[in-house]
Symmetry: D2
Subunit: 149 residues, 4 copies
C-alpha cells in the first residue's frame, strides 16, 4: 500500500470513530486515498420525504461525508465552507447509492471537491460540489506517524 | 386564520404524514404560511461528525425541510432542483436550531427560496438557497378543499 | 457623514481608479457604506446574447462589482472565492438595472454577501450570493487615514 | 463530420450572429459538438478589476458562453436558470484562457453542465457549474435542416 493511501486510511479511521452522523446513516467506506473517497449507503425508510423519495438532506449528507473523507485524507483537518447540490433524479427506498468524491484543486488552506452520487443502475442521482478550508494542524499526531504506526 | 394560511397548514399536514425524514430529525413546525415556513430542531448525538460538531448534512436536511414546507404551501407539489448552503459557524450537541424559509420569487413552475438557520443565541449557523420546480398538479384534492375542509 | 461611510467611500474611490472592468460596463455608484453598496448599469448593445437578452455574464459582472464594493468597504482587501447566481427574468436592451449588495455575515477573514439585481419596474432580474476572503492588510494606508484624509 | 457535430456547428453559427456579448469579449470557438464546447479568450485591459486581475464577471461571462454553446448544441433553445463559479487562481492581463464545457446530465427540459477555465500553463483558473432549461422548440428551422443544409 502506498504511503499516501495508508495515511488516508488512518485519517478516515480516526474521524470515523467519532463520526456518529456517518455511522447513523449506515455509510460504508469502499475506498479512500489522497483527495479521493468512495462510499456506499442504502436508502432507508427514515430517509424518505413526503413525496416518497429520499429526502434531499440525506443525499446531501451522504455526499458531504464522502467530501469530508476525501478532504481530510492527508492529515490536515478541514471543514466545508460552502456546498451546492443538483438533484438529477430521485432515489427510492432500498436503493444502494454510491458517492464518489474527488479533489478538483487545492490551495494553501482551501480545496474544491466534486462528489457524484449514483444508484446501482449507474444512473446519476445528484452532483455535489464543496469548498473546504483547513481548521487545524493535523488529525493524527505526526510523531505517531513518524514512529511507523 | 386567512385562507392562504389554512391551505399552507393543510398542505404541511398532508406532507408531514409521510415525511419520515423530517420526523426522524425531530423537526417541529412553528409557523407555516404561503411561501414561508419556520421550524425548529435540536442537535442530537447521532448528528455529530468526526469534528464533534453537527454534520453539515443534517444542517442541510433541516434547511431543506423548511424549504419544502415553504414551497409546497400553496397546494402545488414541488421538489428541489438545486440548492447551495454556506456554513457560517458550527452547531453543537443540544443546540436548539431554528430554520426560517421565505420565498424570494416564483415563476410559472419554478421558485427560489432562502433559508436561514440560527441557534438560540440568534447567531447565524448557515445560509441556504434552493430552487424548486413543480412536479404535479396538487397535494390536496381541490374538490376536498372546495367542500369547506 | 459617519466615519464608516467616509471610509467606505474612500475605499471605493481607491479601487475604482484601477477598476477598468466596472468602468467599461458603465457602472455608476449610487450609495456605499460599511458592508453595503448600491450601483446602477444600463444594458448596452454589446451585452446582448444570441437570444437577444442581456448575457448572463454581464448580469453576473454587475452583481460581482456591487459585491466587491460592499466587501472592500472597511479597508480590508478581499476577493471572491465562490459565487452563485439565479436568473429570474431576462433583462433587455436599454434596461436600467440596479444591484444592491448587503453583507449577511462576516468571520475573521471571510464574509458572505447577497446581491439583488432589479430593473426599473422593481422586478427582480437575478439573485446573487458571494463568499469573500481577505487577501491583504489594507486598501488605503491606515496612517493616511489617521492623518485626517 | 458526424451529423451531431454538423448540427452543433450550425446552432453555434446561428446563435453567434446575434451574440454581441461573446463577440465583444473576443471569444473564439475552438470546437463544438453535441453537449460540448471549447472556446478561447484573452484577458484584455478592459477586463481588469481594482486588484489588477481579471474581474470575476468576465471569467463568469466566458464560462457562461461556453455553457451556452454546449447546451444549445442540439437545436433546442435553452437558457441558464442558475450557475455557480469557484475562483481557483487569478487570471492576469494578456493571459490566453480556454473554457471547456461538457454536459453532465440531461432531463426532459433541463440539463447540467460543467465548465473549466484554464490558462496557457494548463492551470485551473475557475470551475463553473450551470443548470439550463429549454425555452422554445428549435434554434434552426428543422425543415431547413431536413432539406440537407
Amino acid at each position: 500500500m502506498s504511503e499516501s493511501k495508508a495515511l488516508a486510511q488512518a485519517c478516515y479511521q480516526q474521524l470515523w470513530q467519532n463520526d456518529h452522523a456517518s455511522q447513523h446513516l449506515g455509510i460504508e467506506m469502499q475506498q479512500v486515498d489522497e483527495g479521493h473517497a468512495c462510499i456506499t449507503m442504502s436508502v432507508k425508510q427514515f430517509m424518505l420525504n413526503g413525496h416518497g423519495t429520499c429526502h434531499g438532506g440525506f443525499l446531501f449528507a451522504m455526499a458531504d461525508s464522502a467530501f469530508a473523507f476525501a478532504c481530510n485524507s492527508d492529515n490536515r483537518p478541514t471543514v466545508a465552507s460552502g456546498c451546492s447540490i443538483d438533484f438529477i433524479r430521485p432515489a427510492k427506498a432500498d436503493d444502494l447509492l454510491t458517492a464518489t468524491a474527488k479533489r478538483l484543486s487545492r490551495g494553501r488552506r482551501t480545496g474544491l471537491y466534486d462528489v457524484e452520487i449514483t444508484n446501482s443502475d449507474r444512473q446519476t442521482i445528484a452532483q455535489f460540489r464543496g469548498r473546504a478550508h483547513q481548521v487545524g494542524s493535523h488529525i493524527i499526531d505526526p510523531t505517531t506517524l513518524a514512529s511507523g504506526a
